[in-house]
């Protein structure tokens, strides 16, 4: 079984990411609705539980956090309920990007300690890649 030391951050090109995104869109938004109903895709099609958390952003600086094994997305409640729908859509789309592109990596993290360890061991440029790709 792979360990945290084996984590290899993929370096995907723009073209490769676009191809993956297009394939995902066909599955998650078969009617090609515009704007893409991202929360519907995550909650209703993929079966993730979206959990709005008051003050997540102000306390931690994070807009959202993903618990992939439990299929849960914790999102700052103000962002989730914001009238500015672009922001909540962007936040959820970003988490969806992580689910599609980085699930294998996240499934290696078994505990909070692993998560902290991962952040400590993972080079800054690798973290940047993960963020940028999503």
């Amino acid at each position: 079984m792979a360990s945290l030391d084996d984590i290899n951050t993929p370096r995907l090109s723009n073209k490769a990411i676009l191809k993956i995104a297009d394939e995902a869109l066909i599955q998650l938004n078969p009617n090609q609705t515009i704007p893409v109903p991202i929360d519907q895709a995550i909650e209703i099609v993929m079966g993730y539980v979206i959990i709005p958390c008051p003050d997540l952003q102000s306390i931690s600086g994070c807009d959202a956090a993903l618990a992939i094994k439990d299929k849960e997305i914790y999102i700052d409640e103000d962002i989730y309920m914001s009238e500015k729908y672009k922001r909540y859509k962007f936040t959820l789309a970003h988490e969806l990007g992580h689910i599609i592109l980085h699930e294998d990596i996240f499934l290696l993290l078994d505990s909070y300690d692993d998560d902290i360890d991962f952040h400590k061991k993972c080079p800054a440029d690798a973290l940047y890649w993960l963020e940028w790709q999503a």
Binding site: S60, L66, K69, D70, L109
Partner: protein
């Protein structure tokens, strides 16, 4: 057998509504409804329960209307779901926000964990 929260969520999804859409449409608090659907909060009683039934499209006389109220009554006689510390530990939230150079990762994780813990407490 459905729990009250599970049945609530099933009815909402049946309407094709996401949590956000359902709460915006009915002017409800999303974190409370989320807790209700995860059985973290016990069902309300009286007028609030009726308001939720209406929002979920239930009409007196429908089977689902009675199931909804029966499940609420049953849930109010049992303890709400309460995740143990161990179960919360297993949630492992992943985040990749760029950290400030002076920021302590353990401290940040503790903060996120605290917020998540609140989401699983009544």
């Amino acid at each position: 057998m459905d729990t009250f929260g599970g049945f609530f969520k099933k009815l909402r999804i049946k309407q094709g509504l996401t949590l956000r859409h359902f709460c915006l449409e009915n002017q409800l608090d999303a974190s409370n409804i989320s807790k209700l659907e995860r059985d973290v909060l016990p069902p309300p009683k009286g007028g609030t329960l009726d308001r939720y039934a209406l929002a979920l499209g239930l009409k007196p006389g429908d089977d689902d209307f009675y199931t909804f109220h029966d499940l609420a009554a049953t849930a109010n006689r049992t303890m709400p779901s309460y995740l143990t510390e161990e179960e919360i530990e297993e949630k492992v939230p992943v985040f990749f926000r760029a950290l400030r150079s002076d920021e302590n990762k353990d401290e940040l994780m503790k903060k996120i964990k605290g917020v998540i813990k609140k989401a699983w407490r009544p």
